[in-house]
């Protein structure tokens, strides 16, 4: 047990927590914007998985890591387009369409993986890290937080960029109005459909990017259903954080820490059955939900399609 508390171990734990949190941060921020605009995206899990497959396939196919990210974003947005067409434009039940997306993508990516990668199991090279000069020399925190791929830093900065956008422009206001009282936004001369489309597509793009990060940076391989419910965790994070992007990141990091600890404990050879260790992060989500679930308040018009002139 004493080996657990070495500096290397703790740095790896921290580093692993950040890497595990990034897909949740990205997808959670996307979901947050979508929910705020009134579109509950249950398909988030599918969009992460779609992004993971597309990103991995593109990277393996020679597009490089950044090409993989672009492919992930495109895949996520393409899936979100289904949401936009069926839910935002045609007014079909968001939950049903979301579940269909998740189930469909799970099956399709597993099939594609079987066809193209099941025999060779290609693996991407370890990602190129960019250590921040100076900061990365700090003991423990340095290697844990400041020695990552560029995309990791970008994900950690994203909540602050969004916070600035929400505060400094009409974006947050318009999204809130679309989710709370779309007819008021419509009467003010802003297109509700377009506002909601923006939110839904952003969620798709962010989930796709998060998925690509998961396969390209997080593990370097693609495994069917590798998202392991992180889409649903991200939905919960978005609901609990309400309009605060930084809270999404806080929750994601906490969850990431649990995931990382679960892995580290296994590697460290602790004598607890692995099944229990792997349960840890999810047990924590339940605990958090029990403690804070009441605080989640959803937009009044969440999940309801908007048609002009109907009340």
């Amino acid at each position: 047990m004493s080996g657990l508390l070495t500096e290397t171990f703790l740095a790896a734990l921290l580093s692993g927590a950040v890497v595990a949190a990034v897909p949740l941060i990205l997808a959670g921020l996307g979901e947050q914007m979508s929910e705020r605009a009134g579109v509950l995206n249950i398909g988030l899990e599918g969009m992460i998985l779609g992004g993971a497959y597309a990103g991995f396939a593109a990277a393996v196919g020679g597009w490089g890591i950044w090409g993989g990210f672009a492919a992930g974003i495109l895949a996520g947005m393409a899936l979100a387009m289904i949401m936009v067409v069926f839910c935002v434009r045609l007014g079909i039940n968001q939950i049903i369409v979301g579940i269909a997306i998740t189930l469909g993508v799970t099956g399709v990516t597993a099939l594609l993986h079987n066809v193209y990668f099941a025999r060779t199991y290609p693996r991407l090279p370890a990602p190129e890290k960019w250590a921040i000069p100076g900061l990365s020399q700090i003991p423990l925190i340095g290697p844990g937080l400041f020695d990552h791929h560029l995309m990791t830093y970008a994900a950690l900065l994203a909540p602050f960029v969004l916070m600035w956008l929400y505060k400094g422009s009409f974006l947050g206001l318009n999204l809130s109005a679309a989710g709370e009282k779309p007819e008021a936004l419509d009467a003010a001369g802003i297109d509700v459909t377009r506002t909601r489309t923006t939110g839904a597509l952003f969620a798709g793009a962010m989930a796709g990017l998060g998925g690509a990060y998961l396969s390209e940076i997080g593990s370097g391989i693609f495994v069917p259903a590798m998202s392991h419910g992180s889409g649903f965790i991200a939905i919960v994070l978005a609901m609990l954080a309400r309009h605060r992007p930084v809270w999404v990141m806080g929750g994601a990091l906490l969850f990431g820490l649990c995931l990382s600890a679960a892995t580290a404990l296994q590697v460290g050879g602790v004598e607890i059955p692995t099944d229990f260790i792997q349960m840890l992060p999810f047990a924590m989500v339940m605990a958090v939900l029990i403690a804070f679930g009441r605080k989640a308040r959803l937009p009044a018009a969440l999940g309801t399609p908007y048609r002009r002139g109907q009340r």
């Binding site: 422009s169 709370e180 008021a184 009467a187 001369g189």
Partner: protein, 525 residues
């Protein structure tokens, strides 16, 4: 009541050209003429009070001014220029701002955010400017609201003030207020009156729509009355200024409820007759519906066997919660007596069995279950009870036989008794509803707006049913917002205003005026 004497546009210096004028504006919808050759003028610095009952065509008029709909005939002049108002945006750009009855603010956002709404997402909000502009408007119109408060925490009156200011900012010349007093407390109404006075003094033209005559007299410089889509009468600013408030009031009552163009000749009153025992009594009943609208308080009346007691009143003055309380759907204080026996806390099913029936106005909502067949809807209030259910087993043969006979008797037009009721037309749904409520041992029937939304033929059928039922001895309570209906069917008429029954008059030649005056807010001396 001191207001109108202080601030009134001087007729001599009053502006000659109206800001907005309607000339012979007609708007038709399938089957109805909502506005029929309406000619009205709206002048700057004037409050033009527009009175009328539900369905008088006020909403259609507003929607044309707001650019939501276009007139079929006639034209709208803006500062003398014929103008087609093509969209709500266009209306705003012409200076016409509208405050609708239902709130158009986002409750979770602050006042400032609501006022700023309407810019594309990439723009930067200018918070300081909006703060200053709002403070200025607050000073100008004498209101006091914290711009950083969340709208959902404001009172309804305060929310309305925010909306008025927003409408003024967007429009600015002509302010249309659609029944602004409907949801306000008396204090809120006074505050609104003060605000309108200040805006008028600032040169704004205001259209003030209301049900209440007293408000029109108090706040209006010019009063027009709409009746079935037509301008039934108008009083110019000079006329209003010249008359005392009492004389104005009397004149408007005449315009609103006087025999007027259509006359009383069309109405065939029920022949007088001797009624039987006192079958039904409501004593000091008070209550409130869960929906949070106007409740009713201390309502007392009685109905004799074979008598039709009409309950008149403008919609939303407590009639529906009263009916729901009588039917046992909502809790209430006071007593409901059926043949002298207090019903206490008896539930809906028990009241139904005892012979107290309620034909709701919400026919598809609470009256029927749309996806169930006609046959089951006919026994909806007896579910689980003998004879149609025995030991928890549904006896389809009995239910079907019962439904078949009512189907014939009430002339329901449908493919079969197994058709889901949601597929029927409004008239046929009403027939099923009436069949259910009138069948068996019906002693007292409460009808809530029984002909609302029906076509002419079904209106006739329904009225005949009501009359026939009463002729067979049913004590009948007829709630309606249609005064003609009340006058043609009732023996006695009670009037509800703001949840109270302000008076009861026997039906007769002078009933229209007396009822009308009470509906408009006069109390019967």
């Amino acid at each position: 009541m001191t207001y109108e004497t202080e601030i009134r546009a001087d007729p001599a210096t009053g502006p000659a050209q109206p800001l907005v004028a309607l000339e012979g504006v007609t708007k038709r919808f399938p089957g109805v003429v909502a506005n029929d050759a309406v000619t009205l003028e709206f002048h700057p610095g004037e409050v033009h009070a527009l009175l009328g009952e539900n369905g008088a065509g006020k909403s259609t008029l507003i929607s044309m001014l707001a650019g939501v709909q276009q007139p079929d005939e006639g034209r709208i002049l803006i500062e003398g220029v014929p103008t087609k108002i093509t969209s709500p945006k266009h209306a705003l750009s012409l200076g016409i701002g509208t405050v609708y009855q239902h709130r158009m603010l986002v409750p979770t956002l602050t006042v400032a955010e609501n006022l700023q709404m309407g810019a594309p997402w990439y723009r930067r909000p200018d918070r300081a400017a909006i703060r200053e502009k709002f403070a200025e408007s607050c000073r100008a119109f004498g209101i006091d609201i914290d711009i950083d408060r969340v709208v959902g925490e404001l009172s309804l009156g305060e929310q309305q003030q925010v909306e008025i200011i927003r409408a003024l900012w967007r429009g600015g010349k002509l302010l249309v207020l659609d029944e602004p007093t409907a949801m306000l407390s008396p204090a809120g109404v006074r505050e609104l009156g003060r605000m309108m006075g200040r805006m008028r003094d600032a040169g704004v033209s205001i259209i003030f729509i209301t049900h209440h005559l007293s408000e029109a007299v108090e706040f209006g410089n010019r009063v027009s009355v709409l009746r079935s889509g037509r301008v039934a009468g108008a009083m110019s600013a000079d006329e209003v200024a010249a008359l005392t408030p009492e004389a104005t009031r009397a004149r408007i009552v005449d315009l609103m409820f006087g025999a007027g163009v259509e006359g009383d000749t069309k109405i065939e009153r029920r022949a007088r007759r001797d009624h039987g025992e006192r079958a039904f009594e409501v004593v000091g009943l008070s209550g409130k519906s869960q929906k949070g609208d106007t409740g009713f308080s201390d309502v007392t009346f009685h109905v004799q066997e074979g008598e039709i007691f009409g309950v008149a009143g403008v919609d939303g003055n407590g009639q529906t919660p009263l009916a729901e309380a009588i039917a046992g759907q909502i809790p209430c204080q006071g007593d409901v007596l059926l043949e002298g026996r207090a019903l206490g806390r008896a539930d809906v099913a028990k009241r139904y069995r005892l012979g107290l029936r309620y034909a709701t106005d919400d026919r598809l909502g609470e009256g029927t279950v749309a996806s169930l067949p006609i046959s089951l809807n006919m026994v909806l209030k007896q579910i689980g009870r003998p004879p149609y259910w025995r030991g928890g087993v549904q006896r389809d043969a009995l239910i079907d036989a019962h439904a078949e006979s009512l189907f014939e008797e009430f002339d329901v037009r449908a493919p079969s008794i197994h058709t889901p009721i949601g597929k029927l037309s409004g008239g046929n749904i009403q027939k099923v509803l009436l069949a259910r409520e009138l069948s068996g041992a019906a002693k007292v029937v409460v009808y809530n707006k029984p002909t609302h939304g029906l076509d002419l033929k079904n209106i006739e059928t329904t009225r005949r049913r009501i009359r026939d039922g009463a002729d067979n001895g049913i004590a009948t309570v007829l709630i309606s917002t249609d005064l003609e209906e009340i006058l043609s069917l009732s023996d006695r008429i009670g009037v509800m205003v703001r949840g109270r029954m302000v008076g009861v008059v026997p039906n007769g030649p002078d009933a229209r005026k007396r009822v009308g005056a009470m509906m408009a807010g006069e109390s019967e001396e």
